[in-house]
Amino acid sequence: MAIKSDLVEVNIGPQHPSTHGVFRMVAIIDGERIVDVKMVVGYLHRSMEKLAEERTYTQNIPFTDRMDYLAAMTGNLGYVLSVEKLAGVEVPERAQYLRTIFAELQRIASHEMATGAFINDCGAWQTPVMWCFRDREKVLDLFEMVCGARITTNYMRIGGVAFDIPDEFLPALDRLINDDLPRRFEELEQLIVGNEIILMRARDVGIVTPELAINASLSGPMIRSAGIAWDIRKADPYCVYDRVNFDIPVGYNGDSYDRMVIRIEEMKQSLRIIRQCMSDLPAGPHKVDVPLALRPPAGEAYSRVESPKGELGFYVVSDGSSAPYRWHVRPPSLINLTVLREMTVGQTIADAIVTLGSIDINVGEVDR
């Protein structure tokens, strides 16, 4: 005999200390259980795809910084890969290795942020956030060393990378990935992995089944947590990923805890990749000469990278002029949000916040 109670409509966001950006969820709750959830996006829509049609291909690279603003390097990388596929540009070896190094460093930085924010959503009063940000600061210092900017790096160019690395970069990188980060990751693991309270908060919360994961086009840690070993770096290798050895972590249950430990494991694998790239880094030019107003032949191309959030794809249509005719971004964050309702209905609000944190969305990418 259920007591009839009213359904309350609660607004979570757009300003909220815990959602990752201006993202609004309208939850209809019954007591503490969520009955339905509706999401409202578009607070950060900047019409990048329309703006890109008026700019040259090179002028569009800064747009990709600002889409997923926490993983600018992989955004840049995906875009220049698609333009290179369209225009048939060959990238020199050194640039490929440098691109891989920076993509993996960016993965570390982005996952640190994601892990810290996730544990903050679980309620740990910002101590893990501070620890994770400490490591992220070191990576951002390296970015500043090489291209002058920490977050919106604008480092990749069509045909290579913008600047060659300075002399002090490799020793600093060596110190970071051989001394600092392994120790820090161990500390983080001891604190977080297997922590009883985080297990209680995040196990069996926000479950994704494998069939739903494939059908809903999930990618990145979301689909890997469901037990499907799919990673663009292994399936469709770009840069030098087919030449380095690394593993991809795959979860068991498809819940938030799995996603968190997958991200921590991916950070450790990134260290492995960077070590191998560092030791094999060839000499040579860091970029080919590409005209400033590149005019690729008419046609279309779709290419994708494994960004920290998932599969980031770029679909470029060219009509032979110096600006893209149509430029579309496949945003992993938006597509990962497709299953938000399935994941949160039936849970409490606290669990919904934890689930949202584990999807790791970036509103710049959702809205573009």
């Binding site: 309350v8 609660v10 909220h16 200390p17 815990s18 503490e32 903050n120 959503d121 309620g123 740990a124 009063w125 101590t127 620890w131 400490r134 992995v193 309270i197 297990l199 209680m200 908060r201 196990r203 069996d204 919360v205 926000g206 479950i207 089944t209 494998p210 069939e211 739903l212 494939i214 059908n215 890997r224 947590s225 499907i228 070993a229 799919w230 990673d231 292994k234 593993d247 991809i248 972590p249 795959v250 979860g251 068991y252 799995d258 430990v261 997958i262 494991e265 299953v339 309702r341 399935e342 994941m343 949160t344 209905v345 039936g346 849970q347 409490t348 609000i349 606290a350 669990d351 916040i353």
Partner: protein, 440 residues
């Protein structure tokens, strides 16, 4: 007289009125002055009460200010950052800056909020925390209100504080504040029982509910009650964390979930009062623990040289540091997990503790063996029982969700099973219903 002090620096506490190591000398001298001058009886009583209140309120005022600094600085160091260090040397003037900021802010009150309740709630939150320091013995002769039911007074005051949290949220007329208040009431009702039961063991040993008697029991038997009652200490510590709304049980003000909880509508000095009152309540609970479990003003004869109240304050801050430590480290429970923790873990263990204590006390009284023989035995038995009980409880009651390993499995390449598409797809695909999470 200064010469006398200098000549014997390690002299024991004396009865001279200027010996502030025993503040009752000072107040006694003032009251004698009034009586000799022929004042009526009630004047002596009132002046005595006022003097004691003055002492306690000045202590609380200092505590509220210093603890803001301590909490932020210590939590900052635990998070490998510096904490406030700009305002004044080592950031010592930070609380002053905070107070000025809060005082000059506009105190907004929503028109739809209940005005009287809204205003009274922060006051009702602060006063019990201060009031319960009246029964604490600060020295051998320094108790403001030597109640024979001191422990019951403590329970009453801490419940009152939690009640004030509820009316603050309810009177704000705000959905989020209401959520916070609902959670608080659920937690308050639930955690009263382990608190009462755990302190009951202490009372049984000491034979009295008078706090000064409890401290004297520890002094006479040359031990701290924490040694005799480790389980009660743990239960009391965790339960009062929940009562105080401190992490890991701070859902009532869970910032990252419901944006502030019960104090979301408060601004300006009313919010400042809530903030300060939380610290004051934390200190009040630390005082209770320091008195009941850690010996209060007594510290193995050192209290005859060092002032008793200094010893108490030292113990208060030691316990307070442990509170800050858990706050800086642990994530937060969910409400149903927290309530299950109280009902299924704290309460049964507290009841078992009482059974054990009752048996021990009866044994002591019936056989009449000396304390020097029995008490070390009891210390050993209780310590062993605590360890056994905790291990057994964890084995039996711990949540059974760990059917998957903690770490992910590693794959060398892609491996996608060929799965069929879900049977019926629509906006909500079946087979994707979230499984029930295990509650503790």
């Amino acid at each position: 007289m200064i010469g006398a002090l200098l000549a014997a620096p390690t002299a024991l506490v004396t009865d001279n009125w200027w010996d502030i190591r025993d503040l009752s000398n000072l107040s006694g001298a003032i009251l004698d002055l009034i009586e000799d001058a022929g004042g009526p009886g009630w004047l002596t009583y009132v002046v005595g009460a006022l003097l004691g209140t003055l002492g306690i309120v000045s202590f609380i005022g200092g505590v509220a200010i210093i603890n803001i600094w301590i909490e932020r600085r210590v939590v900052g160091r635990m998070q490998s950052r510096l904490g406030p260090n700009r305002v004044g040397p080592f950031g010592l003037l930070q609380p002053v800056a905070d107070a000025i900021k809060l005082m000059q802010k506009e105190v907004l009150q929503p028109r739809v909020a209940d005005g009287l309740v809204f205003t009274v709630a922060p006051i009702a939150f602060t006063v019990p925390g201060i009031a319960l320091l009246a029964v604490i013995p600060w020295g051998r002769n320094m108790v403001l209100a030597d109640l024979d039911v001191g422990i019951v007074f403590l329970f009453a005051m801490s419940s009152l504080a939690a009640l004030a949290v509820f009316i603050g949220g309810y009177g704000s007329n705000n959905k989020y504040a209401l959520f916070g208040s609902m959670r608080v009431i659920a937690m308050l009702v639930t955690y009263e029982i382990p608190i009462v039961l755990s302190l009951l063991g202490v009372v049984m040993f000491a034979g009295s509910m008078n706090l000064n008697q409890i401290v004297l029991f520890q002094a006479d038997n040359w031990l701290f009650l924490i040694m005799l009652q480790p389980l009660a200490f743990l239960i009391y510590f965790l339960s009062s964390s929940a009562e105080l709304n401190r992490t890991p049980a701070d859902l009532a003000e869970a910032e990252s979930e419901i944006a502030g909880g019960y104090h979301v509508e408060y601004s300006g000095m009313k919010f400042g009062l809530y903030y300060a009152a939380e610290l004051i309540n934390a200190v009040a609970v630390s005082t209770i623990i320091a008195t009941v479990f850690l010996g209060g003003w007594w510290l193995y004869k050192i209290d005859e040289i060092v002032p008793g109240w200094m010893i108490v304050i030292g113990k208060i801050y030691a316990v307070y540091f442990v509170f800050i430590w858990t706050r800086g480290t642990l994530p937060r429970f969910r409400i149903d997990q927290l309530l299950a923790f109280a009902w299924k873990w704290m309460t049964p263990m507290a009841i078992i503790n009482i059974l054990l204590v009752a048996g021990e006390v009866v044994l002591w009284e019936e056989t009449g063996w000396s304390a020097g023989l029995l008490l070390p035995l009891y210390i050993a038995i209780n310590g062993a029982m605590t360890a056994v009980l905790i291990v057994a409880w964890v084995r039996v009651m711990a949540p059974k969700f760990q059917r998957y390993p903690d770490r992910p499995r590693m794959y060398d390449g892609i491996d996608v099973p060929s799965l069929p598409a879900p049977a019926s797809i629509g906006p909500t695909a079946p087979g994707a219903a979230p499984a029930r999470r295990a509650t503790v």
